[in-house]
Subunit: 209 residues, 4 copies
DNA sequence: CATGAATGAGTCTTCATTCAT
DNA sequence: AATGAATGAAGACTCATTCAT
């Protein structure tokens, strides 16, 4: 009823879905379990047949995001192709993920501080690993003379920031198609690194795969 | 003690300062007026001799940020120089502000939704105006053939995102000096727009002023 | 596992057993039906196939205690022997019961107030009857010059109190054997009443039976 | 207002008083903070201006009881008189305290298990110390041939039990005066130990002091 | 019989806010 | 100005109980 497109099979799924929506819209602290329950169509106490606590609910919402993202990035990074092509793959992965799972990504960014200390630490570690891989690629490209690196870390931040930003406004029904967004941001990133034929590389990209 | 340079003269100032710190660290919802009072060294009820409400406190913390930012941007934009130089000035303004007033900027980004509807609307309008000016500059540069614009809005977002990101991690004592960060991000932005001699333009910039 | 000797045959029995254990350890109010269910190895809802309500469970745990005790006391009181011998029999009965069914006795003492009003009234009536019989014996002994009674009621309380106390600490595996405890407390009670040859009477007691 | 005799000066005192009353009547678990607040004549949330938590309230109610009791007992034990006189003094102290502060003593006995583990451990240690002193006196009396000891520990329990029991029913307005109760129970205790002239010793007791 | 799920009632606790002093 | 106390509103969570499967 409340999920026209994605009918949640389990009540537990429905709870996670609605919670994600509400956490995204109002923030974790400002979201009441009453609101979550109402959105699902059950009473607050019934919630506890499916979740352990509000904190656990947040965890399960943020849950796999970083793992999924790391897994996808791994694939992109591991391809046996040119650095630039791997970089493009990583960019594609980054923006596509940030857009297609915008809500979770956004929550993952904004509600880190609502997480219990140990869980937060784990997520932060994954985040660092994720950024490190991007940075490594940038350094490699620089070393091979295929990019003019100003500051590897800041270039990385610049890329990461694009994803964070996209996650805050992307809507499937928006004016810009996801592929177009990815295409432009990938070009922008390569340009920022002064990669030769940045635009062409991006447009001809999946070809090499 | 927590503000080495700017010792708050008024109690009201101290409150705003500590509130900013706490809102930044834990978020508006998760911050208690008790915590603010404790940080200032007074009791909760005494707070109300200086503030009207928690919401008003948030407003006064986020208060001038957008106004100040718009004012600074205005100066940058109004200079009677080359588009690219104006763009650089705007970039400098953007990153410098995002870094030097990181906490307020961060709160302004993350706690928009905690604002009462009308206040939120006003801030959003200012935000749009701010972004519009950047976008206009990009469009102008593109029209004059001094930049190869892929999508003016996305380029704008890319720039804005850098500031948002910087506001989340910049510390005065950090490894990177503010000027260096600005220098690199300005180059990155010009490169992203395929501006000729991007790096040189940035390095030689204030000269024209 | 928790009942080495008396393995509960019925699930209903197991429930009563575990409930008794938990009520004893944590009190009725502090005991959760979930805990009872867990102790039995079933789920909470399954409990209701065997009990009517938590209150009824308490009732059935406290259930027969007073009836059983009264019945045993009846036998002791009705013997056709010397008052002192009957008193000793009653003392034996009292302490033996308090020790051998310590948990139920303890619960019966401490959870009276958790009982619904009418049930509580019934138990209290039985209690009074029980104490009255002891008191009557004391009075009789006094009248016959076989005891020096200070205050029949207080002597009765003194005896009752010993049982209550024993019920709170007696463990079958403890240092003192049950028979020894009974022997000593019986002597103490007779001594308290200044019965002649108190110790000898107790030691030679079952002889007369 | 609600305490005709003992007008509590502080609100905090009133809370402790009413809490003691309610904990005594219905038990800690069955007592609601709402009830406590209502009894005091304030709202539940106001309670928290005076207490830290329900558990702390229990602690502060049970608070000094054992300390006070130990202090009084110390005085009785330390007198430079005959063992039997010291024993009588200790008995007087025990029963008098159990009666005059019946509610607190009762709560201290019945709600031990509601205490957090560490607090419970402390109270239990004090209890043991208290009982040990009684037992030492009994042993001493036995060694000096002034008492015929059956089992020092059980005699101690017998005495302790009388106090516990008294605390459960004593009312200042009751039929038996406190002094009479003390007198009888002291005699009963000495008789139980086969002390010579038990009754006379008790009746002539304070004389030696 | 056993159980997963639902739920109304109620628990302790926190918080922003007010007001008399 | 500062504060102790009071309070309405709300929040997360628990529990005994019911019912369909």
């Amino acid at each position: 009823m409340s999920q026209p497109m994605l009918a949640a099979v389990t009540t537990a799924d429905a709870i996670r879905e609605q919670a994600a929506l509400l956490f995204f819209e109002r923030g974790y602290d400002a979201t009441t379990l009453r609101q979550v329950a109402a959105a699902v169509g059950i009473k607050v106490s019934s919630l506890y047949n499916h979740i352990e606590s509000k904190e656990q609910l947040l965890l399960s919402v943020m849950g796999g995001v970083m793992d999924d993202l790391l897994a996808l990035q791994k694939v992109a990074v591991s391809q046996d192709v040119d650095v630039i092509d791997r970089l493009i793959a990583v960019l594609d992965c980054h923006i596509r993920f940030s857009a297609s799972r915008a809500r979770e990504v956004f929550i993952g960014n904004s509600e880190l501080r609502s997480l219990p200390t140990d869980a937060r630490a784990k997520v932060i570690a994954k985040r660092r690993e994720y950024e490190r891989r991007i940075q490594d690629l940038i350094v490699e490209a620089g070393r091979e003379g295929k990019a003019v690196v100003l500051d590897a870390r800041l270039h990385t931040y610049s890329i990461v920031a694009k994803g964070t930003h996209v996650a805050s406004w992307y809507r499937p029904a928006g004016a810009l198609s996801m592929d177009r967004i990815i295409n432009i941001y990938a070009k922008a990133a390569l340009r920022e690194l002064s990669v030769n034929d940045a635009d062409t590389r991006v447009d001809g990209w999946p070809a090499a795969a």
